[in-house]
């Protein structure tokens, strides 16, 4: 069974159709990339999966469960984590605090127990701290544990945001343009990390990305969107050479009079 099934999803904003009957399925253990020109509907698709936008038609299932029945805050509970295109970290908290927020779905203690900091809460906090430390090791964030996000450079913020999503212990990780704004070197690191996230953490990766070099290096399958429609789906090489994809990016030859 597919992990994520998107079936005929249509989203409209007023008169604009952002997504039109988009259907695809992501298999467990896959690295699945979504490409397309600006305004193709990639981020909208992500926002539909994390329940920020309500689709007009269509079905959305994760591991067989109907996603459309969930509130936005319940999506993480299923094990779907995400990053944002424009980085949405908690600016005034430390890296450690940001990562710990990712542990929110694993909390067990009641509110009164937390106010009195009962022994069970202490044990739980130590366990969260240990789990977060694994993420820190995985992403080499050791020097920045206690640094405030507001003082960190852009590339590091991107890494911290991935770390916060990993702290959820996701079954599926949604990365919205993970390489945008990164240097060539950082982008190279990212390439290995995305593969490691799948191989070592066992998470399925669904990402939106413009950097075709990164996409063809890591992804198993690619979906090309243009004007809210699926125009091609398949291996990176096949999608890149698909005539419709080339048309969407470069346009058609003008008719010579």
């Amino acid at each position: 069974m597919s992990l994520l099934e998107v079936d005929g999803v249509t989203v409209r904003f007023g008169g604009v159709t952002a997504l039109e009957r988009v259907s695809f399925a992501v298999e467990p253990g896959e690295i699945f990339a979504i490409v397309g020109p600006n305004g193709a509907g990639k981020s909208t698709l992500f926002n539909v999966i994390s329940r920020i936008h309500e689709p007009e038609e269509g079905d959305l299932r994760f591991a067989g469960e109907n996603l459309l029945r969930l509130a936005p805050s319940e999506v993480a509970g299923l094990g779907i984590a995400r990053t944002f295109q424009n980085i949405e970290l908690f600016e005034h908290s430390s890296v450690l605090q940001n990562l710990l927020v990712g542990r929110h779905r694993h909390r067990r203690a009641s509110i009164p127990a937390q106010v009195f900091f009962a022994p069970a809460v202490r044990r739980e906090e130590v366990a969260h701290r240990a789990a977060v430390e694994q993420v820190i090791d995985f992403l080499d964030l050791q020097p920045y544990r206690d640094r405030t996000i507001a003082g960190l450079p852009y590339g590091l913020r991107k890494v911290v945001e991935v770390g916060r999503a990993l702290a959820i212990e996701p079954r599926m990780l949604l990365l919205d343009e993970p390489a945008s704004g990164l240097s060539a070197e950082e982008s190279g690191d990212l390439q290995f990390r995305i593969k490691d996230i799948r191989d070592r953490m066992g998470a399925t990766v669904l990402m939106v990305e413009h950097d075709m070099r990164l996409v063809s290096a890591v992804s198993d399958r690619v979906l090309a969107l243009a004007d809210g429609r699926v125009i091609a789906i398949g291996t990176p090489a096949a999608v890149q050479s698909h005539p419709k994809v080339i048309e969407a990016y470069l346009g058609t030859e003008a008719a010579v009079p």
């Binding site: 920020i52 927020v101 929110h104 509110i111 106010v115 913020r157």
Partner: protein
Amino acid sequence: MRTALKTSYVQDIRLFPDVRRALRYAVLLALAAALPLLLDDFLLGEATNVLIWAIAGMGLMLLTGHAGQASLGHAAFLAVGCYANAILMERAGLPFAASFLAAGVITGLVGVLVAVPALRLHGIYLAIATLALSILTEDIIVLAEPWTGGVIGLVAPDITIAGAEVDRYGSPGLFYWLCLAVALIVTLGYRNVLRTPLGRAFVAIRDSEISAQAMGINVAMTKALAFGLSCMVTGWAGALMGHFFYTFNHEVFTVIISIQLLVMIVIGGLGSIQGAYWGALVVGVIPQAINIARDGAQAAFGGSVLIPGIETGIFMTLLIVFILFEPRGIHGRIEKWRIYVELFPLCRRDMFRRQKSFLKTERMR
């Protein structure tokens, strides 16, 4: 320069990061506990006043400083706590301990009720809505005359704890200790909340609702909880305030008090427990400082020096100065000095410069 060597995760979780800081707070607490032996009745009354303001400040700090929900209506919750406590003691004949706890719970529930419609409002709009609540409360107190005594008001009943009479005038030391104990318990609870998932959820919805939601935080419920906890603490402060004023009516809990509370935590330092205490100290000290200055001026120039509105004027000037030059308040300023000394001579001028955040999107909240 000192560096901390951490060998266990518990070190990141416990109340005080190191022994030195624990000792510093122990000395502070011992000093605070010894104040009734050191001060005369008048100054002790002022110290009690500062403690009660600090408790109210912590209530608002939780909501505004940590959960990021502005409230200009906390005088309303002070009033609810104050009247609930007095009415429960007078009418239901409950002992102080029971009515005091119940007053906090009732105020907390009222806070949650207010939060439900207010959840859809952000920033300035929430401030306006809570401001309206504060104005409304003054009228409700007058209208609910059979319960609240209307414009005449109520007299705070006597407190008896374990056989001892705790009275603001009769036994100011005991009343001070009562306030100190409440302040201590609230501070500990507040500190606990901050190091648990609940506190992190508060900070998360303050900084980015959209990603808090993506982390599995139920934004609406967290906001309602923040209102509930904040109002519970404010209600306790209100109950103590009633006993401190001895008599109170609708004119005690005005909009001005709401504004003063908000100004207080901004001057003290938003987003820190210490900020509530610093702010309360400023609120307590300024009127006395003005009185002393006035007496001095009268002695020097003769006649009577009375400038109407000077207290509010100074207070608001302070607010503007702090927002312009030290948005992190007194606590932030002290932290900067502390870091400067600890890192000496490695502190650089730009270390505390505020950075512009990258591409922060306001589009999705």
